[in-house]
Symmetry: C2
Subunit: 659 residues, 2 copies
């Protein structure tokens, strides 16, 4: 029991530290009235969207709670509600900070790069530390009350379901606004990005927040919770070792959280320093300290050292995937340069290149996941696979911090641009923003790798729950399950992309209308109707997020009830495999197209305005919903499908139709 | 033994009938000297390529034969050589006919639509009947000699490996030439398709032959052979039923072949008839007659009726997949119209739509395959799955005939255009060509569905050969095998697409150079250097086909030797699942983009020359290597991977490293 207290204490420490950083960020000045005005407009749009989203989600949560209470039991229903609320709170909290940090980062850029960097990074850190702390606290308390990981699975399901809605909705929102703003503003009207004359500019800034801040945090946190629970369930199955293996994931989580706080001291930039290097230094030193502290923990607890090796295998896989993502999407490496060069012969070759390199980028990452899986299993069995996921995700606090930094600086740049802060300030925010993009590629790879190991662990947990030792590929129901599972991720991606397109279509028409009908808009003499664009993005996103999200929850249930628990096992394996492949491919293709465009804008192959540049801009637009809508939603979708299968396992076992 | 004679006799009948049709086609007039000149240029280019390809392949065959003789046994090596030679002969034979039929079809179009249609269709039929006859004859004779299906697997491996080289090489060739001709000719120089001033026009026509005729025939025939062998191996395992279940697949094949000949009598067009309807009438009536004759066979042999149902389940699945492909790629249906409409807002929305609908099109087909698998298994066990594949593929003679018709009419149109045969003749060839495109969508779906059931049967045959009853998904090696298998098809696709792009790049430069340096070319006063373009396409294709083809053969072996036979089983399952998904997605996305462009060209959304049209042309170019290079190669690749695993199974069992 003494050991069990470590986790909630770490969670509390982390939350307290987050509150401290929040005050630090909040006491910074927010700049000129013009800046405040823009920032308020973004805030207003963001809250308007969040309010609507949460209204809709609360209906969903109520229905789901009733279903869980009726068909399963009230404890799971309670855990589910708490999980949903925590996930929702994390979103609001993250936004609250990000919306304060953006304008303050822009203002601090008037003074210096390092000052501005600190505001942005600590803004991100508030989010990272608070949500991870909240998650660890939530799991610990529920375990204290129920002492049954399968009940706490409800918590994980709640958190993931809300995360999925947030990510799918936020992803549709942000790209609707982005494409609408870019296609009309940049291409048709030839005005720069973030220009205040563009009616969709505020919607675009709002999108960065609802998509990237709220969405990205939710992404990692749902894997984090799920990995800990999968490990706890598998640990509980190792009856001979007693409770220690059940609470070990919580202890590793606690160490990771404390390490993340320590790691933040390494994230500092000197006056003319490199913000990107600072972020990476933070991530890597967190990894090392974490490995060292885990070694001490394992040593003190006299647990098998195989568990340490499994943890480290996960960490290494995470780094490998991050580096692979970096190689295939970095502006300095040959894939991006070749994609840019392909733009010389036109749009189609640019698109075919980006598509192909994105697919090739999957190979090293998948091989990394495979190596980690086998190593973890070799050292510590199925439990080891779950622990390697926990190992990777333990430093989530640091990863989310580095990640949330991105949209904050992106917004800061937008605010600096719109309020005319001058070239020097815009340059600083530009440099901060570029560092955010590199960090994003690495953390995105990390998130996908972690999700892969997590869902593999969940898959094992599912088998444990439904009590099957063998899922035989020679059984045609299993093969059929794999087939149906495997088509889910691509189909859900396609649905999300079509949603973005449908919405963007409406947005484009509206932006064109405003340029046509509002007199003096192009000359900057009249203000555009920002609110209407914000409204279009929000309404569309809410309408469109429902189908893919509900499919993720319902299809596993249908497969299980129709074809039986083995087929459902096959289904989960199928979703994992293509889910990881599509998530990596879409994230990396999108990132590579984006940077190929930037490479040309930096002067290659004719530079800005050349035919190659036009082709690359189109490639980037194709990549936008890949990397910011469909790709990042897939992680959460496969987690939700796995959790849905595990949660409803008792029903599936009892009422399965065919088998 | 009496029963066994049915198959080779049917094979011989089919070959004799093919020879008869060959003389029918050959005695038609080949038209004006100008037409003969163009036809000769195409013929010369095609043979130049084929010669090079076969030279290279013979080196490969010799090496492979030595490996098989050394590591396995000389019987398999002999069967392998015969399979390779048959596959190679089928390619040459098909080309020989197609290259005669194209110019004669164009010439017959001067007389009437129905005359011209007959020449084109019988040209295709020569190919369909001769290669299917050859395959059935080959298997029967080898079975007569060795009486061991596992030895004859060598025949299948030889045929599939050559087919893979032919398809990958032909696919790269045809799109290199096509993109080179279109991008410079149509877009930069504004000259129509098939214009004799375009230096790449002959290479483009050659490409239709080496890609579509030789490639497509190889596609279906390799599945055909593999499905029969998988069924024979699984039949041999059903020891209680004796030899009957081993030769039953051959008997069903014989019935299918005879039915295909009968079905050809239904393919007739009246003077003002509809050629597309005639082709479909042929396919559907062949299906019905085949089902009826199989019923009689099963009744006479007193075999379990479950086998009939399994056969019919396969046929129905084939039709469902064909109809789904038709729905998602047909110019009259909403997906293509929406993709065309998306071109209104630009290239990126057009591309995103086509991508998404292509992915959605996978769902009905995969569900069809799943339903057929479960039904076949329910009626006749694992053997039933193999038989359902045999059932689908039995009518391959008819399918290949309808399919080879496409490139013949495509070429005929090109020849009519280049030799200035006048609007009426060109209109007729246009109508014939359009019918070919619709038939192509259906037969392509059919080919993919058949390949899916075939590889599932091969998967079962593999398990039979290595003697495992359980491939457990809970075994991490199996999961890792699935992961590695699942990334193979997308990666091979990406490699092929990058090859096309690399080659097309060289081709574009060459075509531009000729337009720049050859004086009077644009005015039609000087002749372009066709041969140089033909040469570029050929050299590039040969160089680029090696890596993906060799990977398909070697990677299964490496996985098996490193991770063991269960992991290799997982690997095969992984390749099947993503192979089918990517094959369907790429074929249908490509087809849909193509028709979206045609829909706009027919006058929608501004018609030819509008911004929407330009966007749709780019979408079509992106789709070209999807539907004509990567997509169609995937079927054969997954077949080759499965066969490679089964052939080398004894080595894998003996020398596996880890398990």
């Amino acid at each position: 029991m003494g050991l069990l207290m470590i986790a909630p204490i770490a969670g509390l420490v982390s939350i307290v530290f987050a509150v401290y950083l929040f005050y630090y960020v909040n006491k910074q000045r927010s700049g000129t009235p013009k800046m405040k005005e823009i920032s308020d407009a973004i805030k207003e749009g963001a809250y308007a969207y969040l309010k609507r989203q949460y209204m809709a989600l609360s209906v969903f949560v109520v229905i789901m709670t009733i279903i869980l209470a009726l068909f399963l039991n009230k404890d799971i229903a309670i855990a589910y509600v708490i999980g949903s609320v925590c996930s929702g709170l994390a979103g609001i909290f993250g936004m609250e900070v990000a919306l304060r940090a953006n304008v303050r980062t822009a203002n601090a850029a008037k003074r210096s790069l390092n000052k501005s960097f600190s505001v942005a990074f600590y803004g991100g850190a508030v989010m990272g530390l608070s949500i991870v702390g909240l998650a660890l606290l939530g799991i610990s308390i529920l375990y204290y009350i129920y002492a049954d990981p399968q009940v706490i699975l409800g918590f994980s399901f709640g958190a993931s379901a809300i995360a999925l809605f947030a990510k799918a909705g936020g992803g549709i929102y942000t790209k609707t606004a982005d494409i609408g703003a870019d296609l009309v503003g940049k291409i048709e009207k030839n005005i720069p990005e973030d220009d205040p004359r563009n009616p969709a500019v505020i919607a675009d800034n709002v999108g960065d927040n609802v998509g990237d801040v709220a969405g990205m945090g939710a992404d990692l946190i749902d894997s984090y919770i799920a990995s800990i629970l999968a490990a706890m369930i598998l640990g509980a199955a190792m009856t001979t070792q007693g409770e220690l293996y059940v609470i070990l994931p919580l202890l590793i989580g606690a160490i990771g959280l404390i390490t993340s706080i320590i790691g933040m001291y390494f994230v500092r930039v000197k006056k003319r320093g490199n913000p990107g290097a600072a972020l990476n230094r933070g991530t890597f030193s967190t990894c090392f300290i974490f490995a060292f502290l885990t070694f001490i923990l394992i040593y003190l607890l006299k647990v098998d050292f195989g568990i340490l090796y499994a943890t480290i295998a996960g960490l290494i896989a995470g780094v490998v995937i991050g580096l692979a993502a970096d190689y295939f999407t970095s502006i300095d490496r040959s894939p991006v340069k070749r994609i840019a060069e392909a733009a010389k012969t036109g749009t189609s070759t640019n698109i075919l290149s980006g598509f192909s390199y994105g697919i090739l980028s999957v190979a090293p990452s998948v091989l990394g996941i495979c190596a980690a899986t086998i190593a973890a299993w070799y050292f510590a069995g199925v439990y080891g696979i779950a622990i390697s996921a926990v190992g990777m995700l333990s430093i989530t606090g640091m990863i989310v911090s580095a990640d949330a930094y991105g949209p904050i600086t992106d917004n800061a740049k937008g605010i600096a641009e719109q309020s005319g802060l001058g070239k020097r300030v815009i340059d600083i925010t530009d440099r901060l923003d570029a560092a955010g993009n590199t960090a994003k590629a690495i953390t995105k790879g990390f998130a996908i790798g972690a999700a892969a190991l997590t869902v593999l662990a969940l898959f094992a947990a599912y088998a444990e729950i439904v009590n099957i030792q063998t899922i035989n590929l020679m059984d045609p129901f299993v093969i059929v399950g794999i087939f149906i599972g495997a088509i889910m991720p691509p189909i859900l991606s396609a649905l999300l992309i079509l949603s973005v397109e449908k919405n963007a279509f409406v947005m484009i028409e509206e932006v064109r209308r405003q340029f046509r009908e509002i007199k003096g808009l192009m000359k900057g003499k009249a203000k555009p109707q920002y609110a209407r664009c914000v409204d279009i993005a929000a309404k569309g996103a809410l309408k469109e997020l429902i189908l893919p999200s509900v499919l993720s929850i319902v299809v596993p249930l249908v497969v299980g009830l129709l074809l039986g628990k083995s087929a459902l096992g096959g289904f989960l394996a199928g979703t994992i495999v293509t889910g990881i492949i599509f998530a990596l491919f879409m994230a990396n293709s999108g990132g590579a197209w984006d940077n190929a465009k930037k490479y040309i804008e930096a002067g290659a192959f004719g530079g800005k305005g050349s035919a190659a540049h036009k082709a690359a801009v189109i490639g980037d637009t194709v990549g936008d919903p890949f990397k910011d809508t469909a790709g990042p939603s897939l992680n959460t979708m496969i987690t939700v499908m796995s959790l849905s299968a595990s949660i409803f396992a008792p029903l599936i076992v009892a009422y399965s139709l065919l088998v």
